[in-house]
């Protein structure tokens, strides 16, 4: 609690947190579990190339998602790239610009041009209206992003894509364990791609998986991923190295085991932030949209400068000085980032909603290294920043 302006670390006071708090889940198995898993692998002398742990993981993931095929991959970016290739996409892919840059990079890697659309300013998700507005000739597929532990409004998007005869595949990097009324994410569109990066709720340190009920598509992806783990050889345009190792599989299996406990922990932290921030003018905590169960892996707030008294960027500076490494995801928007701003200059000034979000959104710490008490203190810091906004502004 800051009782006077000079107590803010930005102005020379003592930082609230001696050890910095980060955005990102960073859950990891207990050391004893990790040690046993690594010793097991070295005993088996089977290190990669679709070994026993990857086979078990894929089977367990298929059960978890209740889906026909879960194909593990090196990481989600390479997963999206493989989906683009396996679908045989040509020319352009429609996607929101308000996403992590990897969504667009994967398309470019596959030789495609991204066509950027807006998102809904309230949910931050792509909608049929934002898709329709951006649709142009040459678009061969649509890649909505299921953002922040919520989801896009999928059924209307599916209807819209069907009406334009366009395949739909999802960037669900944030979406592991998220449920909609129709069931878990993983079953929608032609395919969904999940991330198992250390910052996600499901971790393999690095890694990911592609979920699909289309057996033919899954087999094409397996043939493109590696020579190993193929169930039926078939000619494909390219076979790369997109494998996950046995070590990654071991971490992922342990991570999957504890998924419900981690979601519950995230939920408690989310609720703490909600209570702390509920009444702060100009702060809106983003609630996961369109889902019956979130994984709560992202705490995202939007700052309305006129009501809060400080800009998002100034609040960011205040928090950073206090040891809260909040992140301005996504800044800059992809359409304004290198090389997209020069390759596709037509989008630079064309996405005002996305630009506004890129200037107002802030991600707060949550995950293994954050307690509910930390969340309370961060909430309290944000309250104090609002209370001392004029002073901070004058000094900042």
């Amino acid at each position: 609690m800051k009782n006077e302006l000079g107590q803010f670390a930005l102005l020379g006071g003592t930082p609230e947190f001696a050890t910095e708090l980060h955005v990102g889940q960073l859950y990891f198995p207990e050391w004893e579990q990790y040690e046993a898993a690594m010793r097991g692998i070295i005993d088996r002398k089977y290190y990669t190339n679709h070994g026993p742990l990857i086979r078990e993981l894929e089977a367990r993931l298929e059960d978890f998602f209740e889906i026909g095929n879960a194909v593990t991959v090196t990481n989600a970016t390479i997963g999206l790239y493989l989906v683009c290739l396996a679908l045989g996409l040509k020319r352009k892919v429609l996607m929101p610009s308000f996403t992590f840059v990897a969504t667009a990079q994967a398309a470019v890697l596959a030789g495609l041009d991204p066509v950027f659309c807006e998102v809904d300013p309230y949910s931050h998700q792509m909608t049929p209206a934002t898709a329709e507005q951006a649709l142009e000739s040459g678009v061969s597929a649509v890649c909505p992003v299921n953002l922040w532990g919520g989801s896009a409004d999928i059924p209307p998007l599916e209807d819209w894509a069907r009406s334009h005869n366009l395949p739909l595949f999802f960037d669900s990097a944030h979406g592991f364990g998220v449920e909609r009324t129709e069931g878990k994410l993983g079953r929608f569109g032609c395919a969904e791609v999940f991330s198992f990066h250390a910052t996600k709720i499901m971790t393999a340190t690095e890694g990911g998986c592609i979920c699909t009920n289309d057996d033919e598509l899954a087999e094409r992806i397996r043939n493109m991923r590696s020579n190993y783990g193929i169930r039926r050889p078939m000619p494909v345009s390219l076979t790369v190295n997109a494998r996950m190792s046995e070590a990654q599989a071991a971490i992922a299996l342990m991570s999957l085991e504890g998924i419900d406990g981690r979601i519950a922990n995230n939920r408690m932290i989310f609720d703490t932030y909600r209570s702390a921030l509920d009444t702060v003018p100009g702060v809106r905590l983003i609630h996961p949209s369109n889902v019956t169960r979130s994984n709560y892996q992202c705490i995202v707030i939007e700052i309305a400068e006129d009501l809060f008294g400080l800009s998002r960027d100034l609040l960011w500076s205040v928090l950073r000085a206090e040891g809260v490494r909040a992140r301005r995801y996504f800044k800059p928007g992809i359409h304004r980032s290198i090389p997209f701003n020069t390759l596709y200059p037509q989008y630079v000034e064309a996405l005002p909603t996305t630009d506004a979000l890129c200037g107002t959104v802030l991600q707060l710490p949550i995950g293994a290294l954050v307690t509910t008490e930390d969340a309370e203190r961060i909430g309290s810091l944000i309250c104090d920043a609002h209370a001392y906004a004029d002073g901070l502004l004058a000094c900042g």
Partner: protein
């Protein structure tokens, strides 16, 4: 363990018990001391840094750079994406062809295609099995964007000759040096030839890092760009400065590579003993000759490559079928030659007779710590048994082939299903 084959029927291909169980592969599969893996793991574990250029990655990069006597090293999720990103960066803009030998890693064409370029295959020298200045020069044209040189699995290509060609033509030179990680050539350590050299730490390679790869270079600008490109082009938060992707190496794989490196000198000595055993024992068998390591140079003695000549009584592929059925997962050496393989992407090539011929003559035999002296003895006895019973084996193979023609049943393919699932080859 001794070879227990008395008659042709005893061969696993014809229903007898397999000689090697579990099967022996051509990958090194080095087993580091688990305690070392755990010690290195403790470093990232205590810092809660599991990837994203973590502490063990940085240790590994420093160690590898020094080991190659290079100034910089950049690690990657695997060698495929490391080389792919380096091609993207180094290729002369506006040009589309990357020249690489036809007799090399089976996914080399894919690496080039994944970088948006077109592979142009060149021939190799019949003595060194490697591309040369001349076999490469022949295919340089106005569309040549890069030369991707590749070392063979035993000894090195004429890297200095390729450097001369690069200096003369202005075409940038990148190396796939995966099979020459430990080597010197003409006394110079592999690692600093061309603009950069790429290596693998896949489990089958000299350094076992589960999956992974790295590039070493003396070019700081190149190293800086590669580091950016492997991490989405993001140098600091809120900033994207170039095209990129995710090709980062995670910390567990880095820890495994560090643990493997601790045992490297001892492993190379064990490899040398294996190589000497193979050399001594194979000398007694007509028609098969071991590819010799150049012992004037520093070498890993890792890969056991043999040539089957005209005196060998069976075809190379029949020999492979017999060995594989026995659980000795020998593999054809770079076969088919890449220019003869139908790819799902555009490739370019001319007449490359040497690569085509060599791709039908050589095979790699099991290596690494899985092969004890007795295993090598038994394997060579098996090869001796094959030559001694060649006529009967030929008849039995004919019978099998006739059965295939009559019924469509392919026993070789059926057998291939089982052992290769467990094989370890990148």
């Amino acid at each position: 363990m001794t070879l227990s084959k008395l008659a042709t029927d005893d061969l696993a291909l014809f229903g007898g018990p397999a000689t090697f169980s579990p099967p022996k592969s051509i990958g090194s599969l080095a087993n580091p001391d688990p305690t070392k893996l755990l010690d290195y793991s403790r470093i990232f574990y205590d810092q809660h840094r599991y990837t994203n250029n973590g502490p063990v990655n940085r240790m590994l990069e420093d160690r590898l750079a020094k080991w190659h006597r290079a100034e910089r090293c950049v690690t990657f999720a695997n060698a495929f994406w490391g080389l792919s990103l380096a091609i993207r960066y180094l290729a002369i803009p506006g040009r589309s062809e990357v020249i690489t030998p036809s007799l090399t890693y089976r996914r080399m064409g894919e690496i080039i295609a994944s970088a948006g370029m077109v592979p142009r295959f060149c021939d190799v020298d019949p003595e060194t099995l490697a591309q040369t200045e001349e076999t490469t020069r022949q295919w340089i044209n106005r569309d040549t964007a890069l030369v991707l040189g590749a070392h063979p699995t035993v000894n090195c290509c004429d890297a200095a000759g390729l450097e001369r060609l690069s200096a003369e033509t202005g075409i940038p030179l990148l190396f796939d040096s995966v099979e020459s990680a430990f080597e010197t050539t003409k006394g110079r350590r592999v690692g600093t030839f061309g603009r950069a050299e790429g290596f693998s730490i896949h489990a089958t390679k000299l350094i076992n890092g589960f999956e992974g790869g790295y590039l070493v270079t003396n070019d700081h600008e190149l190293a800086d760009w590669l580091k950016l490109m492997r991490g989405f082009g993001i140098p600091e938060e809120d900033e994207i400065v170039c095209f990129g992707m995710n090709a980062k190496l995670n910390e567990i794989h880095a820890a495994m590579a560090m643990a493997s490196m601790d045992d490297l000198d001892a492993l190379v000595e064990r490899n040398r003993q294996r190589y000497l055993a193979y050399r001594e024992l194979l000398a007694g068998i007509e028609g098969i000759s071991l590819r010799l390591f150049d012992e004037e140079e520093q070498t890993s003695f890792k890969n056991i490559l043999v040539r089957l000549d005209q005196k060998w009584p069976l075809s190379r592929d029949d020999t492979l079928a017999i060995l594989q059925a026995e659980g000795a997962l020998a593999r054809p050496y770079y076969s088919p030659a890449l220019h003869t393989h139908k790819a799902g992407f555009e490739t370019r090539s001319g007449y490359l007779p040497v690569a085509e011929q060599i791709s039908k003559q050589f095979m790699l035999l099991p290596c690494g710590d899985q092969m004890g002296r007795r295993d090598i003895t038994v394997l060579v006895e098996l090869l001796g048994f094959v030559t001694a019973h060649a006529v009967e084996i030929g008849k039995a193979l004919n019978a099998v082939n006739n059965l295939e023609v009559r019924t469509g049943y392919d026993p070789v393919a059926v057998r291939r299903e089982t052992p290769l699932k467990e094989s370890h080859e990148e």
